[in-house]
């Protein structure tokens, strides 16, 4: 009698699991169909390889998404797709959006992606985008949140000068690169670690050069960014 109960429980569990998996696969397919119908690929690169020349980078209209599933956090992506905001204050390629002045340059007109979707569509598109992975990225690297905030701040602000190009607060920091004051909500810390180790692996011509730091320091920066929410 007891074994019969266990067997029934197992069957019910397996059924739930298979329904869950098939729902997820269905969402993934629907998400791909939405991405195709909205022509997301006309602005975003949905497949590698990344741009290899400056001329190609200058034609870029929106960030590459072919490793979105490694880069983003699911919850953030689903919300963002419903109401896109500006992540790069000077646009995807800052050089295309600056007003060149005699003494100083200013940021021109930058608008967020106009192609928002409904909550249901956002869920489906997220399911699809999260399948787009960078195959060489290691997962499970950043396993805990403990780090020295004081050391991280020195590394970020002084030693490596990250704040020169990135906003680490809503009202301070550089503007040519993505804002980081909400990086903890947006980015997968394992991806941050992998990207920091070699930004040119993801984007050979990106205007962020590789730093020669120890894995310990890269991990410190990844944890620091994960704490910015």
């Amino acid at each position: 009698m007891k074994s019969l109960k266990i067997l029934i429980s197992l069957i019910v569990f397996a059924l739930f699991l298979s329904v869950g998996i098939s729902n997820s696969i269905a969402d993934e397919k629907d998400g791909k169909a939405i991405v195709d119908s909205k022509k997301c690929g006309s602005c975003h690169k949905m497949q590698g390889p990344p741009d290899k020349t400056i001329a190609d980078v200058l034609k870029r209209k929106a960030p590459d998404l072919f490793y979105a599933g490694s880069k983003f956090k699911t919850e953030w992506l689903e919300k963002f797709l419903q109401k896109p905001t500006i992540i790069r204050p000077a646009g995807t390629v800052y050089l295309n959006n600056i007003k060149m002045g005699d003494k100083k340059d200013e940021i021109g007109d930058v608008k967020p992606c106009a192609s928002n979707v409904s909550a249901k569509e956002a869920h489906e598109v997220t399911e699809y985008l999260m399948t787009l992975k960078e195959p060489t990225m290691k997962t499970g690297v950043i396993v805990d949140e403990s780090f020295s905030k004081a050391k991280a701040k020195v590394l970020f602000g002084q030693k490596e000068g990250c704040s020169g190009c990135h906003r680490d607060k809503a009202d301070s920091g550089g503007t040519s690169c993505p804002t980081l004051y909400n990086a903890g909500e947006r980015l997968n810390p394992d991806w941050v670690f992998d990207f920091l180790k070699n930004p040119q692996k993801y984007d050979p011509k990106i205007w962020m050069p590789r730093r020669e730091l120890s894995d310990e320091d890269f991990m410190l920066l990844a944890k620091f960014l994960a704490s910015l929410k």
């Binding site: 400056i54 800052y94 002045g101 005699d102 020169g164 040119q200």
Partner: protein, 116 residues
Amino acid sequence: MKKVSLIVLSIMFLGLMITPLAIAEKAEDNYKLYCFQCHGSKGSGGGINAAALSTAPRDHTSATEMKKLSDKDIFTAIKEGGAAVSKSTFMPPWKSILTDDEIKDMVKHLHKLCNC
């Protein structure tokens, strides 16, 4: 015949191995994409990031400023970053993007900007 094909294939393979992964760009284009963000479109230090930097970016149009640096210093600052020549850490090391030849071309480009 087989031997000849093998040799040809080997040469092609070696050629591929020797070809650098990155494509060499003109100094003007590298300057636009990598330097404008801090040094500005005129090279005078007025880039969109300048306000966020505790040390003002060098004015590449100033002969007085640029003459303070040797070509070797400029090359090292670009390749290894500002800290390598006791300058600002906001100037990052560009060697993961620019080849030595591209940096040499950049040094020449800077001489054009300062007219010095």
